[in-house]
């Protein structure tokens, strides 16, 4: 893996692209994010402004292209274009903690994701939703086959939605078929796009915040660990690692790890690790003497087995 040289440290807002063909469940997922939010300032850039259902009691204020919610969320329309919507959010007095863009049903999500690397933003993940009932048919459709296949290939995380509407054997066939199309991205079965927000957007903490080391060192304090449908794995060590050790560890990481973050301690300083599904990124971090290698990974229960990761870590790190 290439490690690009250090970038200027500016606040970077995580940026998630939510893609998938018409009817897959993107709007359901957005509505869920909006209503379940507990105070995080999440900005949603909405393709179909009219399709979002917002409980009137939740609305704090609204303009033609923006709705502010009492729970911290802000929904933005895109009629002034994408650049403009992002620029407005980043320059607002209360910039968002996370930006989620709902791509159009035919959008090239890989291209859209490139905005996540522009100044002020950091690409978190491309999340693609597929409709278990019709994804196969759409992938051979006269008009949308290539578009849909391109979306699947660009997914860091793939949500196979409406799995309750297909049989178990159909589901397993589908998963096998999708695996090649999505280049090994983790495939998560969902119904009504139900997925913990921590898996979709992360837990909102950034690993270079001062409290993150404490959280990692004392996982019992971590809000992630309270009887959720997912499991968290922690690792900490003060050993200095070589690039080869890190590369091998990351290469062997099972794709049941849906999100990972932390720091690797190397002789050249700390490397920050960010992973969502098949997207893996290592970037040089500001020196912090108190931190050794600190890793956190989360995945669904029971697919993610912490013992397996312990073994992997002892093998490579």
């Amino acid at each position: 893996m290439n490690t690009p040289p250090s970038r200027a440290v500016t606040p970077q807002v995580p940026f998630t692209v939510l893609g998938g063909y018409l009817g897959a469940g993107k709007t359901t997922l957005l509505n869920r994010l909006l209503h379940d939010n507990k105070g995080r300032r999440i900005a949603l850039l909405i393709n179909d402004f009219g399709a979002i259902n917002i409980d009137a009691q939740l609305i704090e204020s609204r303009t033609d292209q923006q709705i502010n919610l009492t729970n911290g969320c802000v929904c933005c329309g895109l009629s002034d274009g994408f650049d403009e919507a992002i620029a407005q959010l980043l320059t607002s007095p209360t910039p968002p903690e996370h930006i989620v863009v709902e791509a159009s049903g035919v959008a090239d999500v890989h291209s859209l994701a490139q905005y996540g690397n522009t100044p002020g933003l950091t690409l978190d993940a491309v999340v693609v939703v597929a409709d278990a009932l019709n994804i196969r048919q759409k992938a051979t459709d006269k008009y949308v086959a290539n578009t849909v296949k391109r979306q699947l290939a660009a997914a860091d995380l793939l949500l196979l939605n409406k799995v309750d509407l297909v049989s178990t054997s159909q589901r397993s066939d589908l998963r096998q078929w999708l695996q090649t199309l999505c280049n090994g991205a983790p495939i998560i079965d969902t119904t009504f796009c139900a997925l913990p927000e921590a898996l979709l957007l992360g837990d909102g903490t950034r690993p270079n915040r001062s409290d993150s080391a404490k959280d990692a060192a004392h996982p019992q304090n971590h809000p992630l660990n309270h009887g959720e449908a997912y499991v968290t794995w922690h690792y900490q060590s003060s050993d200095r690692l070589t690039q080869l050790q890190i590369d091998q560890f990351l290469q062997d990481l099972p794709n049941t790890v849906l999100r990972g973050k932390g720091f690797f301690n190397t002789s050249k300083g700390l490397l920050e690790w960010h992973q969502v599904g098949k997207q893996q990124r290592l970037t040089p971090a500001e020196p912090r003497q108190e931190l050794g290698t600190t890793l956190v990974a989360i995945g669904l229960k029971p697919q993610l087995n912490p013992v397996e990761l312990d073994t992997l870590a002892s093998q490579h790190l």
Binding site: P4, P5, L22, G50, A51, S79, D83, S104, N117
Partner: protein, 568 residues
């Protein structure tokens, strides 16, 4: 009531099949009283005989059914395109045929900025460059631009709108560095003679996410496109080319009504020499919107129409471009290069998107460069007609470049019109023959003669500012079908000059639902004329584009061209 004016001309070509050619036309209060001999017009009463055009040929004012006000922004910045380009002041910007010419021109522009007292770091932003014409040479990089200046930021916005090339000073100004991780930021792939290392920025920025990094250049282009000077230039360039009605085929007044006052004020000015038929886009391409509301907004705009600012319908964009490999084309696809077919509409939703406009009696023009999206447009309109029988909808597939014979037969049966991008035959004909669709389909590009045979009404267009405004040039393309490398693409699809003239006058008015008001010279229609120095129906067909345009008459008012310009 004003006095009648009777113009006498060498010929008045009317495009009225019952009275195709005559010598005089009588005008009162902006309307045509009649076309005929002086004796036939004299019974209208007291008149003034105007001999200004006695040595000219009067044809109906040209109607351009697919252009953009962005054309007017071309002249607000230096032009560095490959082909000569007419400017609103009547001058011609010379095309740039080599990198030496490019650097020389940039040096002149840099020196001119210095001489004007501009700061040494005042950006130099130019447009029109297109690497497709330099494909036998190394790709343009910042190395060449840095030779022009290492201090003045330079930004070349390419003709396609999908690319830009910046020099090092411009990248520095906007904070684009080697560490920028956006895909589409071009990099050197190996050690170059210039001493650049693999991975160093090469200055090229591809597609909007990367282009947006260069905020200075990008914003300047964006602001120019929507500016008031651009609209005035648009009017001037149209007039210079003999155009009296021109579309702005991706109008922004539905999405951002802020500029409505500017449009009303400028088009309402007596000296503004053009009728504009604005087709708004109702949503950013590919995105959903409240289309019921958008249809309502168009109807509200229509309620404020003037005779120089019309709102006949809306525009939808279904795919990309052939020369960008982003048009969605049917099997067997592109002959070389990778298919990046870009769907800019949601097929399952298109009928829902179009329905509110169709039901409101608003004409829909659908951009399909590729034959696959054209199938979608045809199927969708057929389904709409089964729901709501608007027999005279005149919905139009615009560009329609790769229209197949089967599509023409189908279009004729459901009343769909075509608007062919005839200028492509000249500007990209060789590229289509060699690189995109190959000889057979390049020879059938813009199948005008087939459309005539199959009775599909059609117009011809320039898509200005993609190519320059100039209906004589556009006619010339459809008649001669020649390319810069000397090919003739598909002589069986060539039009006669008379057929081509119809397609840039009365038939172009037809696809805009304006053919009862403009597009021909007959009693009761607007007195809109193009005044030509020669007869496009009798000159050598290869000279049609060289005919000089005196100017126009718009609603009875003469508007001389900035100076005699050619149609090229």
């Amino acid at each position: 009531m004003n006095r009648i004016k009777i113009y006498v001309a060498r010929a008045v070509i009317t495009m009225n099949p019952s009275n195709p050619q005559t010598t005089h036309v009588a005008v009162r209060d902006g309307l045509i009283l009649g076309a005929g001999s002086l004796a036939e017009l004299a019974p209208w009463g007291d008149y003034e005989l105007d001999t200004t055009f006695e040595n000219h040929v009067i044809v109906p004012g040209f109607v351009e059914a697919h252009a953009h006000v962005m054309e007017g922004a071309t002249a607000l910045m230096p032009y560095l395109g490959y082909f000569d380009r007419p400017l609103p002041d009547g001058s011609i910007a010379k095309g740039i045929k080599s990198y030496d010419e490019l650097t020389q021109r940039l040096r002149e522009l840099d020196a001119a900025l210095d001489a004007s007292g501009a700061a040494p770091n005042e950006p130099l932003i130019a447009r029109g460059f297109d690497p497709i014409y330099f494909d036998d040479q190394p790709r343009l990089t910042l190395t060449l631009l840095d030779e022009v200046s290492t201090t003045r930021p330079i930004y070349l916005y390419h003709a396609s709108g999908h690319l830009a090339t910046a020099n090092s000073a411009m990248l520095d100004l906007d904070g684009v560095s080697k560490d920028t991780q956006v895909e589409g930021v071009g990099r050197f792939t190996s050690d170059q003679a210039s001493g650049k290392l693999k991975g160093d920025l090469n200055g090229e920025l591809r597609e909007p996410p990367a282009m947006s990094l260069c905020k200075t250049g990008n914003r300047a282009v964006f602001l120019a496109n929507a500016s008031e000077p651009a609209l005035w230039n648009f009017g001037a360039s149209a007039r210079n080319a003999g155009i009296t009605t021109c579309t702005d085929l991706a109008g922004g007044l539905v999405l951002s009504p802020r500029s409505k006052d500017m449009w009303q004020r400028v088009t309402g000015d007596d000296s503004f020499p053009l009728r504009v038929a604005m087709y708004n886009i109702a949503a950013m391409p590919g995105l959903n919107a409240d289309f019921d509301d958008a249809a309502q907004k168009v109807l509200e705009l229509r309620a404020e129409e003037t005779d120089k600012l019309r709102f006949p319908g809306v525009k939808f964009i279904l795919d990309g471009s052939i020369q960008g490999w982003t048009a969605m084309i049917k099997a067997p696809g592109y002959i070389s290069g990778e298919d990046h077919g870009q769907l800019l509409t949601v097929p399952d939703q298109l009928i829902d998107w179009l329905r509110p406009f169709h039901k409101a009696g608003l004409n829909v023009h659908m951009h399909c460069n590729g034959s696959l999206t054209q199938d979608l447009a045809i199927e969708t309109v057929e389904a709409l007609l089964q729901e709501h029988a608007w027999l005279d909808h005149r919905h139009t597939i615009t560009h329609a470049q790769l229209t197949t014979q089967a599509q023409l037969r189908k279009m004729a049966r459901i009343g769909l019109c075509a608007n062919f991008f005839a200028n492509h035959l000249w500007y990209w004909g060789d590229q289509h023959y060699e690189h995109t669709v190959g000889p057979e389909r390049a020879n059938q590009l813009e199948p005008c003669a087939s459309a005539l045979r199959e009775r599909v009404p059609f117009a011809l267009h320039s898509d200005a500012g993609v190519t320059p405004l100039g209906q004589l040039h556009t006619m010339w393309c459809a008649v001669n079908r020649v390319t810069p490398k000397g090919r003739m693409l598909g002589k069986l699809e060539a039009l006669t000059p008379e057929q081509a003239l119809r397609a840039v006058t009365i038939d172009a008015a037809f696809v805009l639902h304006l053919d009862d008001e403009i597009g021909s010279i007959e009693a009761g229609k607007a007195a809109d004329f193009a005044i030509l120095e020669d007869n496009p129906l009798t000159v050598d067909p290869m000279s049609i584009r060289d005919i000089r345009v005196w100017g126009t008459v718009l609603g009875g008012q003469p508007h001389p061209a900035a100076r005699p310009a050619t149609g090229a």
